[in-house]
């Protein structure tokens, strides 16, 4: 090696050093997962129990009852017969093409992931809105979560918890939670200052301000975040299937490896149908709740 080669070749670190770093990090993490893996796994046990229970519930309920229940939910949320009818039709089609069980599995995991993302994301968003320091810390973490390829954080999760539903849920939540956090933060920060000031002037406590003014006024933005979160969770279904999450993702994975175009297309379309149902229903619900908030000059 000539000494002046650093001009043309990037002066890299020695291969041996790099190897040592990788080895020691990997070893340290393996050590960590060996000693704490069980503990962490048992921490997630209640969630796993719930997941299994919910999936079984959807699978064991007769299909017509599920369709009826979903339709009632859709109608209550959107108050639209058209939308309810479209939901019935798409679910019937999915069942007719033999994808009912997988769809129910996906539905159950997406529902749980979304609820989890909302339950975690909204408080984090509120925290960010209240403190600039929290915002400064959380924002880069969200950037990482959104840009880091899902496969990369699947590795440590699988190392720690093995293959199965829980790592799948964790991967989906990591991928899908940023929008609801970001938009909760944004929504609260955008609440009209004078309205908030009015609440303060009338002696509202911080909690009264949060629940009486900030969250209701931020709700259009928060709903947009929840909507995005649902969409992103659905987009993760295929990747989650790689670590053993059953559902519509698995047939898609199978058709990639075996080049079954039609199988992939059908299951893909079923995911799209679920996405559209979730999207339209959540949007219709949000819109119905925010009618009177439009057109006010200070909003």
């Amino acid at each position: 090696m000539a000494d002046s080669s650093w001009l043309t070749q990037f002066p890299q670190m020695e291969r041996a050093d790099l190897l040592a770093i990788r080895k020691s990090l990997d070893a340290a993490y393996r050590e960590f997962s060996r000693s704490y893996g069980d503990l962490i796994e048992s921490f997630f046990d209640p969630l796993l129990t719930f997941l299994i229970w919910f999936e079984k519930l959807l699978l064991n309920t007769p299909w017509w009852l599920v369709i009826m229940a979903v339709t009632v939910l859709v109608y209550v949320a959107s108050r639209s017969w058209k939308l309810s009818l479209a939901v019935i039709l798409s679910l019937l089609t999915i069942g007719y093409f033999g994808m009912w069980d997988n769809t129910m599995r996906t539905l159950s995991i997406i529902t749980v992931c979304t609820l989890l993302a909302i339950a975690l994301g909204i408080p984090i968003g509120i925290l960010m809105a209240r403190s600039d320091r929290a915002q400064a810390i959380v924002t880069p973490m969200l950037d990482i979560m959104q840009t880091m390829p899902a496969f990369v954080y699947l590795i440590p999760v699988v190392m720690l918890l093995g293959i199965g539903k829980i790592p799948g849920v964790i991967a989906v939540v990591i991928y899908a939670i940023p929008p609801v956090i970001r938009l909760t933060n944004l929504g609260i920060r955008l609440v009209d200052k004078e309205v908030l000031e009015a609440a303060t002037a009338y002696g509202a406590s911080p909690m009264q301000r949060l629940f009486g003014v900030q969250l209701p006024l931020a709700s259009p933005t928060i709903m947009a975040g929840i909507n995005q979160t649902i969409m992103m969770a659905l987009a993760m279904v295929v990747i989650a299937s790689m670590i053993g999450v059953k559902g519509l993702g698995q047939p898609v994975l199978k058709s990639i490896t075996n080049q079954y175009f039609t199988l992939g297309l059908f299951n893909g379309l079923a995911i799209v149908a679920l996405a559209i149902i979730f999207d339209r229903v959540s949007q219709a619900y949000a819109k119905r709740n925010q009618q009177h908030m439009q057109g006010i000059d200070n909003a």
Binding site: E194, E197, Y202, G203, Q208, G212, M293, Q294
Partner: protein
């Protein structure tokens, strides 16, 4: 001016507000009298308020006036500590507001003060009646009770029937009535009004001013009213304070401000005011030159000759009767000096009320040869208003508009 023995309801002492990273560090410079621009250039801190001292009495409408950027909105937010001062005391009913804990401050805001905002500050997701009852809801008042009360106040401000509408369905004027009802609904003693009528168009604004004056006659609240409009200030204010660049330039009764502006800044403000509409006869009149109380022509003539002027106001036990001219007296005295003063001797000159606006007496003043007698509410002669004094007061500004 506040009487010394009267304890002011709200007292503000040596209030300073500096905006910026570390306000304490520039307080020295502020107190040394460095200019606002200089401090901003040197330290990047903005001086919002500088050495404000105010005493506000119970039951008065105190108007704080200034142009945008003068710090008036900052100042009003100090009363309920929406903004905390850098230095200074805020004392309400003898209690130092600055010493309150967060909990005490909440209680203070709930029960002592309520606020009306320039852009209304209504909650778009609540119905009108829920907005009005918001203050009571925060206090934890039972739902039925607070809605009943809110309905009453809505009726008072003339919005009965709008209870279940949302603010976005109302016009600007109606929205501000909701804002006013909300402020009144908590029964707070002190009302803070931050440019409450500035966002409304002129006609609605004057309607709202009338309504406020009318309400105040029965409610006797202590109102702190912020405005950039001197006409509004003069119309509503019992006393007015004028702010300029965060400093108090002048405070006093409307008449003081109009007639004795403290400096060029206030003068420039006052110049554009329609004085005929802002001042009452009382503030302009002079004491009567000659008051005739004699019974006979001869005595009256003697009385008149002792005083300058060639006319007098004839006053009996029943009050003002009319004007007597010296020439008439002289000619009648030649005939019979002992005869009593009769209707024939008197000239009929219309009397004007002391609390009438100048505007309303301009025609009479111009049509009559003598200065008009000014009577108080009991019919007693208080003073006289001559063309000259009227012209003098109105003439400093746009005389042509008013006196033509």
């Amino acid at each position: 001016m506040p009487k010394p023995e009267q304890q002011p309801l709200i007292q503000i002492d040596g209030l300073y507000k500096v905006f910026g990273e570390r306000p304490e560090t520039v307080m020295g410079a502020v107190k040394a009298g460095q200019s606002k621009d200089q401090i901003l250039a040197d330290t990047g801190h903005t001086v919002g308020l500088k050495d404000i001292n105010l005493n506000i009495n119970k039951g008065e409408i105190f108007v704080i006036m200034g142009l945008s950027g003068s710090g008036k909105s900052t100042l009003i937010r100090h009363f309920n500590r929406l903004i905390d001062p850098t230095e200074g005391q805020i004392i309400v009913e003898g209690t130092d507001v600055m010493k309150f804990s967060a909990r005490e401050l909440e209680q203070f805001r709930r029960h002592k003060m309520s606020m009306v905002f320039q852009r209304f500050g209504l909650m778009p997701h609540r119905t009108v009646v829920d907005n009005v009852s918001y203050g009571l809801a925060v206090q934890g008042v039972d739902k039925k009770e607070r809605l009943d009360k809110a309905r009453e106040w809505l009726e008072t401000v003339g919005l009965a029937g709008y209870e279940d509408q949302y603010p976005s369905q109302l016009s600007g004027g109606q929205q501000q009535r909701v804002g006013l009802a909300r402020a009144l609904c908590t029964d707070a003693e002190i009302l803070l009004m931050d440019e409450a009528f500035s966002a409304l168009d002129p006609l609605i604004r004057s309607e709202m001013q009338d309504q406020l004056i009318e309400l105040q006659q029965s409610l006797h609240k202590t109102i702190i009213f912020i405005t950039h409009d001197l006409d509004e200030a003069l119309r509503l204010g019992d006393r007015i304070a004028i702010l300029k660049d965060g400093e108090l330039v002048q405070q006093g009764e409307p008449v003081d401000i109009l007639l004795n502006p403290a400096d060029a800044y206030v003068e420039a403000f006052v110049k554009d005011v329609n004085r005929a509409r802002a001042l009452t006869v009382e503030t302009v009149m002079k004491p009567p030159v000659c008051r005739i109380t004699a019974d006979t022509i001869g005595e009256a003539l003697t009385q008149m000759k002792r005083l300058p002027g060639n006319y007098g106001y004839y006053v009996t036990d029943e009050g003002y009767q009319g004007v007597i001219c010296q020439r008439t007296l002289e000619s009648e005295a030649k005939l019979d000096g002992d005869s009593p003063i009769s209707e024939a001797t008197l000239q009929e000159v219309p009397a004007i009320a002391s609390d009438a606006l100048l505007e309303s007496v301009i025609p009479e003043t111009l049509e009559t040869d003598f200065p008009l007698p000014v009577l108080d509410a009991d019919g007693d002669l208080q003073g006289e208003l001559s063309r000259a004094s009227l012209a003098e007061v109105l003439g400093e500004s746009h005389t042509k508009d008013n006196a033509a």
